[in-house]
């Protein structure tokens, strides 16, 4: 197992940042770690990489305890943090040479060129990194994370700032690493399209704890049993008078996002709704994909809070 986390807890300055986080990840898997801003994803990464020590719980990464064996772990993992910083007065090639030597690796010019080429950067570009665009910096950050051929890659928003073609290129690199080189990839992102295309397993963190974890196919299969709709209601609609078969998930202005319980028939639910003269103007069926799953579990958790 690449990562095993059970009942992880982290308190910082007397405040509970993480409580009961669980995550399991195998070799060659691309794992999508999702959650709203401030949910605790970055704190979770700092624990996985050994930059912080957990308050309680079990955490093993590549069979190592990150807090106690961080040096050995760092040799085997590659990380692209959300704020990927560089020494911007250097050229990319010089930077890659310097960074490789920090890992005790002496790379030839050809190897550096290949590493940059893999992420779509031109090794012949001798301009300082300060002149790079956001997308180029993301690519350079990925090249840096891959430099020492890690067994586990931890990427925080890796496709931020990339155009559609750039995103697709990075997707292809990640899929190749996972499928052909057995590299495990922990992907933290807000872009559900990335998760949909890349990940075989996901975990959703909200309010500092894991609200859902499992294989994407299983989770979407479960959710398919539920039936979600968007309703356009008039201004005087009150959630309290919704029939019991219909659950309000979220609302934005006159648009309500509702779910009909899995054992109820939609036509029955609508009949009850109309019988009570509920002020509904339009009903739309929703896809029931990853976005719905994400919105529903994070919404439920927010309400519970």
């Amino acid at each position: 197992m690449l990562i095993e986390i059970q009942g992880l807890k982290l308190d910082l300055d007397g405040k509970s940042v993480l409580r009961d986080v669980n995550l399991t990840m195998e070799k060659g898997q691309i794992y999508g770690l999702l959650g709203p801003n401030g949910a605790g994803k970055s704190s979770n990464i700092s624990l996985i990489t050994g930059l912080r020590q957990p308050t309680a719980g079990l955490i093993r990464v590549l069979g190592l305890d990150p807090a106690k064996e961080s040096l050995g772990l760092h040799r085997r993992i590659g990380v692209l943090a959300e704020q990927a910083g560089f020494y911007d007065w250097m050229a990319a090639v010089a930077y890659m040479h310097w960074f490789a030597r920090l890992y005790g690796i002496q790379l030839s010019a050809k190897e550096i060129s290949l590493a940059l080429d893999q992420v779509g950067l031109d090794a012949g570009n001798q301009s300082a990194i300060s002149s790079y665009s956001r997308g180029m910096l993301q690519r350079l950050g990925l090249a840096r994370a891959l430099l020492h051929r890690p067994e586990l890659l931890i990427l925080d928003e890796p496709t931020n700032g990339l155009d559609p073609r750039g995103r697709r290129d990075i997707h292809d690199v990640l899929l190749d690493l996972a499928n052909n080189h057995n590299v495990g990839i922990l992907l933290c992102t807000h872009l559900l399209d990335d998760v949909d295309r890349l990940c075989s397993r996901i975990g959703i963190i909200a309010q500092g704890h894991t609200v859902l974890e499992g294989s994407l196919a299983d989770l979407l299969g479960i959710r398919a049993a539920a039936q979600r709709y968007r309703l356009r209601v008039t201004a005087n609609a009150v959630p309290a008078i919704l029939p019991s078969e219909i659950t309000l998930l979220s609302q934005s202005g006159n648009w309500w996002h509702v779910e009909i319980a899995g054992n109820a028939r939609p036509e029955e639910a609508w009949r009850v709704l109309f019988d009570t003269d509920f002020p509904v103007e339009e009903i739309h069926r929703e896809g029931g994909g990853l976005e719905d799953l994400y919105l529903s579990v994070t919404q439920v958790d927010r309400e519970a809070k």
Binding site: S46, T49, L51, R52, L71, G72, H74, R75, I77, V79, A81, Q83, A84, G85, F86, Y87, D88, W89, M90, W98, F99, R101, L102, Y103, G104, Q106, R144
Partner: protein, 251 residues
Amino acid sequence: MTNPIILIARKESGELLLSGRGITWLLALSIVMSVLSLLLVSNTELSLLDNASVVYMVMGTVTALGSLLAVVLGTDAIAGERERGSLWPLLLAPVTPSQIVLGKMGGQTAGWIVMYLLSLPYVWAVGSSGQNLAQAVIYLALFATPVVLGFGFFCIGLSARVHHVRTALLTGLITLMLLASPLLLGPSLRQSGIGKLFDAVNPFSAALNTFDSVVIDSQTLAVQSSRLVVTLVWLVTTALFAMRSMRKIKI
């Protein structure tokens, strides 16, 4: 395989010598030294100041400017990297916090060596007509080095403990001004009990009083040993502070 400490120290020195920010600082320091030297040489020519006083003033200025540069480089060492996002990759490389901080200290040392070499032509310009040029060069290296590096190490420690460069820089500058305050105190205040005590434990005063004793009063090194101890204690204490702070680094 190159030692990570050397790699980080080389990178730090490279930043000072190759980055726009570093070159601007060195250029600014050169301009200040040029203006000061010109004024002092003019004063000597007009017999307003004797040669020894002028050399002493240049030595004090080099120490003060070196300390200022050390404060700026030191506060940027960790907090600056954190703000620019380049600290995470460094912390996630197979390098211990001690190696990182030792590398940063190496960079500080290189910065001071550059500053010291840069100051030598100015010391020569004002001191070449007198008898104390050699003492100036030697005592500047001997006493200014621990003072300047101590400020740098202190600020590296500060920058590991706080989140922002601004906080570290402000604290570093206030400390520098506090320790340099004897320069601003009048002779009567310096002769009071508190003034004497402050002078006795203050590394900045120790260096300046040594320059005064050696260049103006022509005393020997043996007389300055207690002052040398003060500056070395300052250097060791700040180095330990930096090492300890790195273990408590804010990420």
